[in-house]
Amino acid sequence: MSAATNTATEPVVRAVNVHKRFGALTVLRGIDLTVQPGQVTCLVGPSGSGKTTFLRCINHLEQVSAGRLYVDGTLVGYAERNGKLHELHPRDAAKQRRHIGMVFQHFNLFPHMTVLGNIVRAPMTVKKMPKDEAIEKARVLLRQVGLADKETAYPAQLSGGQQQRIAIARALAMDPKLMLFDEPTSALDPELVGEVLDVMRELAQGGMTMVVVTHEMGFAREVGDELVFMDEGVVVESGDPREVLANPQQQRTKAFLSKVL
């Protein structure tokens, strides 16, 4: 939490009263949240609490319905001109997303490309990085996630844990300032969870700013700088993970933690 108290720096994520509605259904009812540079924020809560929706709002995979969401001081998904919000052109939305890496529950690797192809695709297409440079960078990332020997494999030939580590490398290839993780270990066999969390822990130790939707309370306790407990579209309780997990203040937090711990 040391970073959070330093008010001089611009937070990487600043959510102000964020609401999200899908038709008649309101999923987020006023989220306020700040993520400082280098901070790891873990979002936990029962399914349907809106944590994944909030995560998807951060890189504009979902459009915010009310309130404001800023990444690095820039409004996400809209342009504000003369007090009016204008929808962003897809081109500009894509530009905003370049700096935000995302890792999905179901990996979403590109099945028709090799591991190396998956990693070099976006830097080459989006950043116009020369092929040699992209490949060199990809190899460094593959070593970082411990899969240097898999560059010619196709995703279907890898285990879930290996696929998710490749997905992390793919996101890192774009040099993101912020990494979003949407239940990265929920689709994995129990024995494979550890290898993915290890990579994430190293990433956090390297100073990456991360927002992680997770059910891994052990990870939240050990790596997280802040734990945010959400339920029914609001933040019920947040604070130092060790504090919140050991000594929850709210009844709903207690009820949830008693089921998962």
Binding site: N59, L61, P90, R91, A94, K95, R97, R98, I100, G101, M102, F104, H106, N108, L109, F110, P111, H112, M113, T114, R121, A122, T125, V126, Y154, P155, A156, Q157, R170, A171, M174, E191, V193, G194, E195, L197, D198, E216, G218, F219
Partner: protein, 320 residues
């Protein structure tokens, strides 16, 4: 959970793979007498048919041999190929366009695409080709310019569109309706997560479609498109409805007025069609294999060999 939690715990006996190679099972295979009997009967019938075909004078194999490589026939075969290729190229382009229109959010685009499919799939291609042949009767000239105000150019349909191009247009518009459905099924088969992953990486819609979605959709699109191509090759025989009569079927039929026996000429047409469809089938096999990359966990023979070599090198015969 740290990596130390993943300590391997195996019984001591299994710790070292056994070195002595096992006696691989060589069982006596099961006999299938019924299969043998039916095979003998079918082969016998086939031989009888072939002897009959060789000796039946109605087939007139002499004329068949004489005209099979006749220049007029081989030229007509080339025209059939050209018709097929042109019609298919336009059909694919228009089909992709119609599929994207059908999948767009814009209701007008959606409806237009739907109406196109409704008409061109709902009427026989033969009837459509007759209509195209009558284009010059229905629209004598086409004016380019601002309607009711100023025309820059006048195209006389009767002279501008030859029967050949009317045939190409007729075939491709009909085929586009089918291609649109095939392409739509292909695009729809790609998981939504693929779009999201590409989007999250900052790729634009066009980049996502070209590099992520279409290559994966191809695996679904290629096999039925191959069928359509083979089907198109044969459908070209209907352009006689336009009327256009320089492709393979019409040409061989017209030549039978020279031979006074249509049967060998039909056999010649069949031979050429079969030759082309066989070539196309081989091509389709390789295309499908190309676009199946990464679709299966199954390792290729080469990959299996590499793994086996690695196993030998590490000296353990018992690893997975």
């Amino acid at each position: 959970m740290s990596s130390t939690d993943l300590s391997r715990h195996t019984p001591d006996t299994a710790a070292e793979p056994r070195r002595d190679s096992p006696d691989y099972i060589k069982a006596v295979p099961l006999r299938h007498p019924g299969e043998w009997a039916s095979a003998v009967v079918i082969v016998a019938l086939l031989v009888l048919f072939l002897i009959g075909a060789a000796t039946n004078s109605a087939y007139d194999w002499h004329t068949y041999g004489q005209y099979l490589f006749d220049k007029r026939v081989s030229q007509a075969a080339m025209i059939t190929l050209l018709l097929t290729a042109l019609a298919m190229i336009f059909a694919v382009i228009l089909g992709v366009l119609l599929a994207v229109m059908r999948l767009s959010r814009n209701r007008v685009l959606k409806s237009v695409s739907w109406a196109f499919l409704w008409f061109f799939r709902g009427t026989p291609v033969y009837v459509q080709l007759v209509f195209w042949g009558l284009l010059a009767v229905i629209y004598k000239q086409v004016d380019l310019g601002i309607p009711y105000y100023h025309q820059y150019a006048h195209i006389q349909t009767g002279t501008f569109f030859s029967a050949f191009w009317l045939a190409v247009i007729g075939l491709s518009l009909n085929e586009a309706a089918y291609m649109a459905e095939i392409v739509r099924a292909g695009i729809s088969s790609v998981n939504e997560g693929q779009y999201e992953a590409a989007k999250a990486l900052g790729m634009s819609w066009g980049q996502t479609m070209r590099q992520i979605v279409m290559p994966q959709a191809m695996r679904v699109i290629i096999p039925p498109t191959g069928n359509e191509l083979i089907s198109m090759l044969k459908t070209t025989s209907l352009v006689t409805a336009v009327p256009y009569s320089f492709e393979l079927y019409s040409r061989t039929r017209d030549l039978s007025s020279e031979t006074f026996n249509p049967i060998p000429m039909l056999l010649i047409a069949c031979t050429w069609y079969l030759f082309f469809t066989s070539v196309l089938m081989v091509g389709q096999y390789y295309l499908e294999r190309h676009f199946a990359r990464g679709a299966s966990r199954t390792l290729s023979a080469r990959q299996l060999r590499t793994l086996a070599d690695a196993q030998l090198e590490s000296g353990s015969g018992g690893a997975r």
